[in-house]
Symmetry: C2
Subunit: 520 residues, 2 copies
């Protein structure tokens, strides 16, 4: 087979097979710049990263191309929903890594990505400078430069004086070579030419990435947990909102920002729990606030013992006057007396005999609580109802929610509900009570929670704390999960605290307040 024969075959093949693969290749081949390993991102852009308003976002990427051309790159960004991109230049920081920084000023979502291209002028200028520096003849290079500058100028349909003049001078063979070379390499032209890029074959990183920008309290704050019924002055009976309000100056005086209330809703009577999880409450025993719902109402009602919804509104306002925000506990479960049980039995799981299943963690039984069946055939109505619970309390001035046991509800529900709510109310903050497996905790954070309880409570030795906070602060986890460090909770009291007395609480408080930006 001779060379000539093969050439003929090639030509025939080219004419015949201009297939779709080749068309695709034709579109891609001129995009010679590779943009890869863009950071930060979560799961290839499946989830947004998180920032708070007023911060900056530094985006870095590996950017390179075949050959020796010089490159240029920008970070593109915009408010999600906007059509126009803004951009900031990226600079190389070594080993083909580039970075650029933009400010995230407003709460809401931003899109961002990276675009890189061959810097034709800079590449040409660099080669010219090396040849001219070595004293080589650059007559041909000057003509090429003239043509290049004119082409870039035409691309932009306008040009500064120096660009026009240089384009003409470089092509003027009647002028002296050294004058033309000097003009070609002038600082003035070098400063101007980045404004005339050829980005027709730029490579834009896909997919577009997103950052959720929240208000500062999503990242930073001191939380105080208060059972309002225990915040009175008479230990023989439950206190009211009005009485608990008297404690607000005390809480604020300790420097707290957020006052977190466990469920404040009517408590069921059926299978009401007495002290220490017994099923034999005395007549005055109030029951667990997490057994939500009675004849008096469900998740949008207030326990009559605490007061009325108007009392609650006044409590929220009083807290605000003292510089405290109220965080409400949202626990999606119902006591057997909850209105949902009667009105929507289809939202619960049933036994073969038709009765509704209560919560269990075998062999433990929680007869006072019915879990909600998120897979119910009537799931749309159920999910919307649950979302509206948040919206109801947002309507009453609550913008922070501590979500109870989110890991026993579908991830998709949270992603949907938090997404919908924050679209309408981007200043809403969600804290995930997920003391569960690390990857589940992280996935809930990815799905939209602003903050997560962490394993801080169980990390007590120096080695444990070092390892855990290295993970939280030095790995990509930091891009989407913000720990809220609780020293203890009503149902978690580490042996260190049980045995360590006041000094142990003090040590844990200082650790909590200094290892993270949010603590409780």
């Amino acid at each position: 087979m001779t060379k000539r024969t093969r050439s003929k075959t090639t030509r025939a093949a080219t004419t015949l097979a201009k297939d779709s693969h080749e068309r695709q290749l034709d579109q891609q081949r001129l995009r010679r710049v590779v943009v890869e390993n863009v950071h930060p991102q979560v799961d290839g852009g499946r989830f947004p990263i998180k920032r708070v308003a007023g911060e900056t976002l530094t985006v870095s990427a590996d950017i390179h191309a075949d050959g020796h051309d010089l490159l240029a790159a920008v970070v593109l960004y915009r408010r999600t929903g906007a059509t126009e991109w803004r951009e900031v230049p990226m600079t190389p920081i070594g080993n083909d890594r580039w970075q650029g920084t933009f400010p995230v000023e407003a709460i809401g979502r931003y899109d961002y990505t990276v675009e890189g291209w061959i810097d034709r002028f800079a590449s040409w200028r660099y080669e010219l400078s090396k040849k001219a520096g070595a004293g080589q003849d650059v007559a041909s290079e000057l003509l090429e430069g003239s043509a290049l500058i004119r082409e870039l100028q035409e691309l932009h349909a306008t040009a500064a004086g120096i660009v026009q003049e240089s384009g003409a001078l470089l092509g003027d063979t009647a002028a002296a070579a050294d004058v033309r070379t000097e003009a070609a390499l002038s600082d003035a032209l070098q400063r101007e030419m980045p404004g005339y890029p050829d980005r027709r074959h730029a490579t834009r990183f896909e997919p577009v990435l997103q950052v959720v920008v929240e208000r500062e309290r999503a990242r930073f704050g001191a939380w105080y947990e208060m059972f309002p019924r225990s915040a009175g002055t008479d230990p023989s009976r439950s206190a009211t909102f009005n009485e608990a309000a008297l404690r607000l100056p005390y809480v604020r005086s300790m420097g707290f920002d957020v006052l977190y209330l466990p469920p404040i809703h009517p408590i069921g009577r059926s299978f009401r729990k007495g002290p220490n999880n017994t099923l034999t409450p005395g007549p005055g025993d109030p029951g667990s606030p997490w057994a939500i719902g009675s004849e008096e109402g469900g998740h949008t009602a207030v326990e009559p013992g605490l007061g009325t919804i108007e009392d609650f509104d006044r409590f929220v306002a009083a807290a605000q006057d003292h510089g405290l925000e109220i965080a409400l506990d949202i626990a999606f479960q119902a006591s057997p007396d909850h209105p949902y049980v009667r009105e929507h039995p289809e939202w619960f799981r049933h036994r073969p005999d038709g009765t509704i299943k209560y919560a269990e963690n075998p062999p433990k039984k929680y007869q006072d609580i019915y879990p909600i069946n998120f897979d119910s055939l009537a799931w749309q109505e159920l999910w919307r109802e649950l979302k509206q619970i948040f919206e109801f309390w947002i309507g009453h001035g609550v913008k922070i929610f501590r979500v109870d046991n989110p890991h026993t509800k579908p991830y998709r529900f949270w992603e949907w509900a938090i997404g919908e709510i924050t679209q309408q109310h981007p200043d809403t903050i969600f804290l995930s009570e997920a003391f569960t497996r690390p990857k589940v905790m992280r996935y809930l954070a990815k799905s939209g929670f602003s903050q997560s309880y962490s394993y801080f409570t169980w990390r007590t030795t120096k080695a444990e704390l070092t390892e855990y906070f290295t993970e939280l602060t030095q790995t990509d986890v930091r891009e989407y999960m913000r720990p809220n460090l609780f020293a203890n909770t009503p149902d978690i009291l580490h042996a260190y605290l049980q045995d360590g007395g006041r000094a142990a609480f003090q040590a844990r408080l200082v650790l909590a307040a200094t290892l993270g930006a949010s603590y409780g």
Copy 2:
């Protein structure tokens, strides 16, 4: 706003707005299992990983769901192009990480992915065993189990005897409870039920990932570089293939597997280089073999001084007889006398005065070499021609190619050419001569090269070697880039070797042969 009012609003909204977002959610919400962080993969599946035939591929993933259900998962795999998937079970290895292993037996490409689902039977059985173990009444659970087993049996439209019997027995309230419980928890049923999964809402990881399976020589081999014209017995003249063949037993006796030949094509006469890069060759100076092409032909011709194409064929066969494979150097560049220059001037870059540009690395000039313009308007014809050069030599028994300076040609070209060639000839092996920036070297490996020259040549201290081989063998780089460790090359001789004498060469040989699976 009362609870009742809100419920009515909700119903109306549900009826009205069954929008596309909600339909999408409906499809997703039952896929409660998350499959993420699948390993190995390169850039989210953009590029295949690499293995050699006969190896196994262990795939791991984070697999979890909300709640406490037990899960099951498999690795799905198939030859690329096949429609049916095969599968191997995955097992949990702790902290919600799962893994499974499948064999890659044949060269070519395989698809693989991971699928996980709720194991309904195992979840039910686990709860039953805990309740029964605690002595609780399980009458209701047995009825649920009966219904579940029957449902799973119907899903599969067939069932083994024990499954049918257990389904019936568990639902038979006339039978003794302890007999039914024992049947429900029996090992026999537990062994059988994984054959009856409910995978209707299984989560399959996307995108499908790929592994390129090559023959063993892609991973493992000892390379010997020989200039055939220098492999004769008479130092006063260039040797021929027939003479060089006499050296084959010697090369093989040293344990080499691959005999690598620098370009064997006719060498251009224009601007032929003399010794030490001078432009004044003597009449007998052969010129650089990388100045490819003369009146006698180009990349598919043999330098007449070495012999004919038939001589080459005999040389390849002789090498094969001695257990040696020939690797050819492919350098896509042309001497000014190459037939391409005359036949396809459009494949080269031109100066404003119409002359063709020679290669330069300012201030160095390579007047004997014209680089090829891959961005030529006639790129389709050019790319096909270049691909056919490989195919020509494959037709002459060569299956290993050492590609010269691949980083000065478009990445897309390599991805396309190697992809097309290995589809037809999956036993072809490509070695990338990219001593360039690390990310460029890696991107060429991702784009399809079987092996890459590495920075081994420049890593001489213990710390340098430890750091570099940790990167090559302990990071994800190992999934797609295989180093071929050359102690030196015709144009790279590290100061360590220049100054170290024979002992230095011995030390580097031992390091090269033991730090990697391929060396030269």
